[in-house]
């Protein structure tokens, strides 16, 4: 069943991202920057003009001195969301189109990163090229990125690596989150991910897949039409099991290959609730943060 928020996201992506994020998150990763937050860092003397709300009143009662309690800020990393907006992301099922789900998840991830003080950037891959919005801090950046996501449509194919390299590799190393369906004509997505990871980026792939696409439970004989190439293939009902098996085998091989390259892959079903998808998207980072503490 289609989540009504996917429809609402057509009008106000930020609002939908807020409702989604508010239900689900804690910090993605710890920050080295001092400031207000949850993790205690140090006490320091109060300086006139500072916000009185930051004074530790319990310590004042005990010591009769004004101290400011400092904690590590939640984040200070660079988070770059790469959105696969090629033709294949137009694949739609009862729950909605992949691109719609990817857009909401991208907005939510950008909002999370923004709230934690990260520099956020956006790369939209489509039409054999990519639109790059470099990482920056601030609310204006968030609104700029969300505005860019607002009227996005899926079209074209994934570009070759030579065209993508100058757009993905340079810049500050940080977290790169790719929202994609991992459909590729050859090895172009895998190669790009492998090279971005090799360049020192922390790469997470959120692979979206539809229920019918995964189970291949279409009734009767059908003709499949490739959204990117327009190629048509007639498939009989009897061939369903074989198609399922091939798809599962290919997905497993692809995951293993990406893991070996240091790329984490999280598969998200279109039929899963958006909150759960967001939690699963953030889980690897939270797990890494806990391990690093």
């Amino acid at each position: 069943m289609r989540d009504p928020r996917l429809l609402a996201a057509q009008r106000d992506l930020l609002l939908v991202a807020r409702t989604l994020v508010d239900g689900a998150l804690v910090g993605v990763h710890p920050s080295r920057l001092p400031g207000s937050g949850l993790e205690f860092s140090q006490y320091r003397s109060y300086q006139p003009g500072e916000d009185l709300r930051r004074v530790d009143w319990k310590l004042l009662a005990r010591s009769d001195r004004y101290f400011i309690r400092e904690a590590e800020r939640e984040t200070a990393a660079t988070v770059r969301v790469v959105l696969d907006a090629t033709g294949s992301m137009a694949h739609a099922e009862e729950e909605g189109a992949k691109l719609d789900v990817a857009r909401v998840l991208a907005a939510a991830l950008l909002l999370v990163a923004h709230r934690q003080g990260d520099a956020i950037g956006l790369v939209i891959v489509r039409d054999g090229g990519a639109d790059v919005l470099p990482p920056l801090h601030g609310s204006r950046q968030l609104h700029r990125l969300l505005h860019r996501l607002q009227d996005l449509t899926a079209h074209g194919a994934w570009p070759d690596w030579p065209r993508l390299e100058p757009l993905l590799v340079p810049g500050a190393r940080g977290i790169t989150v790719l929202l994609t369906d991992l459909h590729e004509a050859g090895r172009e997505i895998r190669d790009a991910l492998r090279r971005v990871a090799a360049a020192g980026h922390d790469v997470l792939v959120l692979a979206l897949e539809g229920r019918h696409e995964r189970d291949f439970d279409y009734e009767g004989a059908v003709t499949l039409e490739d959204l990117e190439t327009g190629e048509r293939v007639a498939v009989s009902a009897a061939a369903r099991a074989e198609v399922r098996a091939r798809r599962a085998a290919r997905a497993a091989a692809l995951r293993d290959e990406l893991l070996a390259a240091g790329v984490q892959v999280v598969r998200l079903g279109l039929d899963a609730p958006l909150e759960e998808a967001l939690r699963r998207a953030l889980e690897p980072r939270a797990r890494a943060a806990r391990a690093g503490r």
Partner: protein
């Protein structure tokens, strides 16, 4: 499971239609736009064609509807209904059994009337040949010895006798005498004796109405008046005087022409008598045991008795006979199935019509759901 009309099963050939449609359908398939056809495109085309019985559920529903339709036309039923009885009634029992026959006729029972004169067995054999398989044979007759011949035919089923009390024929009627004349040459005297013995056996059944005369001289003049039955056993041609005197059946020895038809067969299917014209009979072979073994059987006596003129209104032998004496000889012959009644057809076809309608409705529902989906 037995079909009432096996011809209806020919409708099963219609199964080829949905099978062909599903295997070689050129209808535009449902087009689904997907992100990639890479996994499906890897399947060899020949293999896809070989296994492309598409939409097996709808094929099963369509085939099921057709099969049910064929079975409805064939009238397939769990068990055949009890066939109607065939009733054989000799003339002597007609009046005595009238109320019973009326009620049987009202129930749709087939009644065979036996031509006047004993024995009743040939009529029973004819009814056996006509009756449906499983139908019972019922003989409504008085238990008189005169109704039984010496020969009992082989029937495909048991016959039940229902006794009625009838007035013996000839009781108060004037008996009509029939004269049978046998003329033999010296060389064929032995054959004359065989024929006389057969006539004597017939007389035992018919009573005193049969007079048998045997003449050993072929040059003798015919008796005064007409001869209702003449056997001419001689190589000499039949004299014109004898020909003129014969008013009924003429039985001659030997010789067949292509125009003759077989009048009677022995138990093994070999001809006993040929008939050139009505009443003009020829023996198939000399009446010797070597040439015509049937003369040693009771059937030969019945065949000869069958050539004698009827009716015979002499007093019947009303000696009571036991049930065992009236039981026909049995054989294992299988007769053809009977035509079912319209009601039987309807009852047998109804569940199959229902199934056909259900399959069709399910197929339509499946198609509707698929179009919506």
């Amino acid at each position: 499971m037995t079909p009432l009309d096996p011809r209806g099963l020919a409708a099963l050939a219609a199964l080829a239609l949905p099978l062909a449609l599903h295997l070689w359908s050129s209808r535009p398939r449902r087009v689904i736009r997907v992100g990639s056809v890479r996994d499906a495109a890897g399947i060899p085309a020949a293999r896809r064609l070989g296994r492309r019985l598409d939409d097996p559920l709808r094929f099963a529903l369509r085939a099921g509807a057709l099969v049910a339709l064929a079975l409805a036309l064939a009238g397939l039923r769990a068990a055949p209904p009890a066939p109607a009885a065939h009733v054989v009634v000799p003339a002597v029992a007609e009046s005595a059994a009238a109320p019973l026959l009326d009620s049987l006729r009202a129930g749709g029972v087939t009644v065979h009337h036996v031509a006047p004169g004993p024995p009743v067995w040939p009529a029973l054999a004819a009814a056996d040949a006509q009756a449906a398989p499983g139908a019972s044979l019922v003989v409504i007759a008085p238990p008189w010895a005169s109704l039984l011949g010496a020969y009992r035919p082989a029937l495909t089923r048991a016959a039940t006798w229902r006794d009625v009390a009838a007035r013996p024929p000839g009781d108060g009627d004037a008996p009509a005498r029939v004269t049978a004349v046998i003329v033999t040459s010296a060389a064929r005297r032995a054959e004359g004796r065989v024929l006389r013995a057969a006539l004597e056996a017939a007389r035992a059944v018919r009573g005193d109405s049969l007079e048998i005369r045997e003449l050993l001289d072929t040059d003798a003049a015919p008796p005064v008046g007409s001869v209702p039955w003449l056997a001419w056993l001689s190589e000499a041609p039949l004299p014109a005087a004898w020909r003129a005197a014969t008013a009924g059946t003429l039985l001659r020895a030997g010789g067949t022409t292509p125009a003759m038809s077989v009048r009677a067969l022995d138990d093994e299917g070999r001809p006993l008598l040929y008939e050139a014209a009505p009443g003009d009979l020829y023996l198939a072979a000399p009446l010797t045991a070597q040439r015509l073994p049937a003369i040693l059987t009771a059937r030969f006596a019945d065949v000869v008795a069958g050539t004698l003129p009827a009716p015979v209104t002499t007093a019947a032998d009303t000696t009571r006979v036991s049930a065992a004496q009236r039981a026909p000889a049995r054989s294992t012959l299988q007769a053809a199935p009977a035509d079912p009644s319209p009601r039987e057809r309807t009852e047998a076809a109804f569940p199959w019509w229902l199934l056909a309608v259900a399959c069709f409705a399910a197929e339509r529902a499946s198609t509707w759901r698929r179009r919506r989906g």
